[in-house]
């Protein structure tokens, strides 16, 4: 009996926490500390988003905590329809938070969002573009397009991986030091190279190269 009451209280507090987040997300700019994807993972990400926490995260630990949370909160454990709905919603939230935080690019975009700096779809018009970056990206894309040999393809892959590492380092730097003026540009660089990496996965030398995103 006591266990049942305890269980119910726990469910209620989870529900309350869930509603709090929903409520605060309306005021994301003001209350971001109370309600982020980070707060869903109190074990791995106890310091929260940068600059309090670090940008880099232990993705293995995050995955462990994620699986643990999902098993504890499984909708099949619910005793009635209301509980089931609550747990389904929370579970969807945990999924979303996990997939956002586990990817460097998505995490970086999410942090931009928390700072109200999300990249608009027409961002190419509203902010100056770096012509050097565009030329650099374009040259690699053309190299891929012309590539027919495996050796060349490996070279390109290595080059793109290196570009991504450099871009990630820069993204890490700007968020850790809360250098918000340069945050958008750092994320844009990462976006271009990650796009190429993802498209390369579906491509083989000699094939038509298509961008996937």
């Amino acid at each position: 009996m006591t266990a049942q009451i305890q269980g119910r209280l726990l469910q209620q507090s989870r529900w309350a926490a869930f509603y709090n987040r929903k409520f605060f997300s309306l005021f994301a700019g003001l209350y971001k500390a109370e309600s982020t994807h980070y707060s869903l993972f109190p074990k791995t990400l106890k310091d929260g988003p940068p600059p309090t926490g670090r940008f880099a995260i232990d993705t293995r630990e995050l995955r462990k905590e994620f699986l643990n949370l999902q098993s504890k909160n499984h909708p099949d454990l619910a005793r009635n329809e209301t509980e089931r709905e609550q747990s389904e919603e929370l579970s969807a939230d945990i999924n979303r938070a996990y997939s956002t935080l586990a990817s460097t690019l998505h995490r970086a975009n999410y942090l931009l969002e928390l700072h109200n700096l999300s990249l608009a779809e027409d961002a190419g018009r509203t902010m100056p573009q770096d012509p050097e970056l565009l030329t650099d990206v374009y040259d690699v894309l053309e190299r891929i397009e012309d590539c027919v040999a495996d050796g060349e393809a490996e070279e390109i892959q290595t080059l793109v991986d290196q570009k991504i590492l450099d871009a990630e380092t820069k993204v890490e730097e700007v968020f850790n030091s809360n250098d918000l003026d340069n945050a958008q540009n750092a994320v844009i660089v990462l976006r271009y190279w990650v796009n190429i990496r993802e498209s390369l996965k579906e491509w083989e030398p000699g094939q038509v190269f298509r961008m996937i995103h």
């Binding site: 990249l119 779809e121 961002a123 190419g124 902010m127 573009q129 565009l134 976006r191 190269f209 961008m211």
Partner: protein, 175 residues
């Protein structure tokens, strides 16, 4: 209430489709040839970017990472005689740039500079989430025109300087 909201959507869409003015004959032909799912884009390729008659526009969409290069060749009358493009991006971005190349060929630079993304989006029936693809195409032609004009201006300065220098030499040798 939710039922009402759901049913009003298709009604609105039908109304706006009916209200759309008839397209001129040429654009009907083009709209048949072009579609966002077009798998055979036209005028794909490159021109020599160092050619004095060629303007190159290279633009990107920071939010999605698409890259578009558009090149124009301008004849002595200031008319765009050839257009080539290469777009690394989604189908809508490729279709937008492909359509744009057909549209601006034969236009003067001024006319081409006035092409709006809304015209491209309408022609291809792009959904709202793909409007930025047509913007990218508009930005690409603007950027190509700008590049061409800058190149010509630079060329004019250089040639007039060379002519001035040559005539100065001539004058000096005569004296």
């Amino acid at each position: 209430m939710s039922f009402l909201a759901r049913s009003s959507r298709p009604l609105l869409a039908t109304a706006s489709r009916a209200a759309r003015p008839a397209l001129p004959v040429t654009s009907v032909a083009l709209s048949r040839a072009y579609h966002a799912k077009d798998i055979k884009p036209r005028n794909v390729g490159s021109m020599d970017k160092n050619d004095i008659n060629v303007g190159t526009g290279l633009v990107g969409a920071p939010a999605c990472g698409d890259v578009m290069k558009l090149q124009i060749r301008v004849d002595d009358d200031g008319i765009i005689s050839d257009v080539k493009f290469k777009t690394f991006g989604c189908g809508s971005a490729i279709a937008s740039s492909s359509y744009l190349t057909e549209l601006v060929r034969g236009m003067s630079l001024d006319e081409a500079g006035k092409v709006k993304n809304t015209a491209i989006a309408k022609e291809l029936s792009l959904p709202p989430v793909k409007l930025h693809c047509s913007m990218l195409a508009e930005d690409a032609i603007k950027s190509a025109i700008k590049d061409y004009k800058a190149k010509r201006a630079q060329h004019t300065i250089l040639t007039s300087a060379a002519t001035a220098a040559a005539s100065a030499d001539k004058a000096a040798s005569i004296a």
